[in-house]
Subunit: 197 residues, 2 copies
DNA sequence: GTCTATAGACCGATAGAC
DNA sequence: GTCTATCGGTCTATAGAC
């Protein structure tokens, strides 16, 4: 019985390189703003090679969202995240968005796809809904515990506040793209000011 | 001296019909998701006729944003808006977003263009920055007066709060598109709950 | 002011060799 | 698994008749 080669961490295969680049372009410029030709040129392969791995652009787009969903679940369940007290879980969430802001003013997955949502293939729409739903549910739980322990402060229900906070963060990354990072940091500071007791 | 014909309110000219339809499609599906052919077919004219009025799609896009900016200034300076007390000015703002949510889950201009911002022509980018800047400045003033009179309640500076509230509203319309109107109303209720003293 | 006709580029996708 | 070659469609935009 032969063992499949372990994925080399320093040399991702073509399939992964395609997905990485497509994800970057999606978050930096939007789904309709890159083509198989762009990907092929940047990766030094031919467009047909990408069609081999992802037969259609719909498949590629769906793969991007599906991977982000897997990453979200992994991150959420990491001991260094799951075992934190609520206020620090909130900070861990902010840190993720800070990373986006620093990397070429990337917006988050949700913010990148929401405007064009109706033009997306159905599987992509479904994955994005799940992504947003699970993230919201996670934050609602964090907020509920935080309120109960007195570490976080807000009016209204945890789930309503979770929807509001995530929506604000998604929008904040968009504002950073249109202007600069300043309003993004203003918004996050404002959220901290209001939430941290 | 001849008088130019007054614009017939019930029969907008071709130029305006093009702009109206393009604006609708922009807000409902995104800037890259409609073409001159789509516009032409829906209006019963040929693509070339649209090129006559708006030589390039960049010109058309810029005209959409420029008109929204003119509308914003007009709305803001209307006596029935400008003379209102702060809490009612805030409600007037919410009413504008409610209208968007009800019309085919339109996002606002900002939310429609932010994701693809880097792919937009420079004049469009500039107009959008001005649009967002003026709206933020207006709301900051409303919030400042509201806080001073005790009608509105929030921590932090009026301008920081204004950026946060507008960003949240823009994001809320995007969430409505991805899911349904429910989270939009949840977010606006949350904003009311927090701001109205 | 609107038309016909078409240019010229780019798109996503496929067939089939290697 | 990646290549060459190419198809058919759509896009923005232009030229020129009416």
């Amino acid at each position: 019985m032969t063992t499949p080669a372990a994925p080399a961490a320093l040399a991702p295969d073509t399939r992964t390189r395609i997905l990485d680049l497509a994800e970057s372009l999606l978050l930096e410029r939007g789904f309709n703003a890159f083509s198989y030709q762009h990907l092929a040129k940047a990766l030094g392969v031919k467009p047909a090679a990408i069609h081999y791995h992802y037969p259609s652009k719909d498949d590629l787009g769906t793969a991007i969202v599906a991977r982000q969903l897997r990453r979200l679940r992994k991150w959420r369940d990491l001991p260094r995240v799951a075992d934190l007290p609520p206020a620090e879980q909130l900070e861990a969430l902010f840190a993720v968005y800070d990373n986006h802001a620093r990397q070429e003013c990337r917006v988050c997955l949700f913010g990148a796809l929401a405007a064009d949502f109706r033009t997306l293939p159905a599987p992509m729409q479904a994955e994005l809904r799940t992504f947003n739903g699970e993230l919201t549910a996670w934050l609602a739980q964090v907020l509920a515990v935080g309120k109960a322990t007195g570490a976080l402060r807000f009016v209204g229900s945890p789930s309503a506040k979770a929807v509001q906070v995530l929506t604000t963060l998604a929008g904040a990354l968009q504002v950073a793209r249109v202007h600069d990072e300043t309003p993004y940091h203003t918004i996050v500071s404002q959220l901290r000011l209001e939430l941290l007791a």
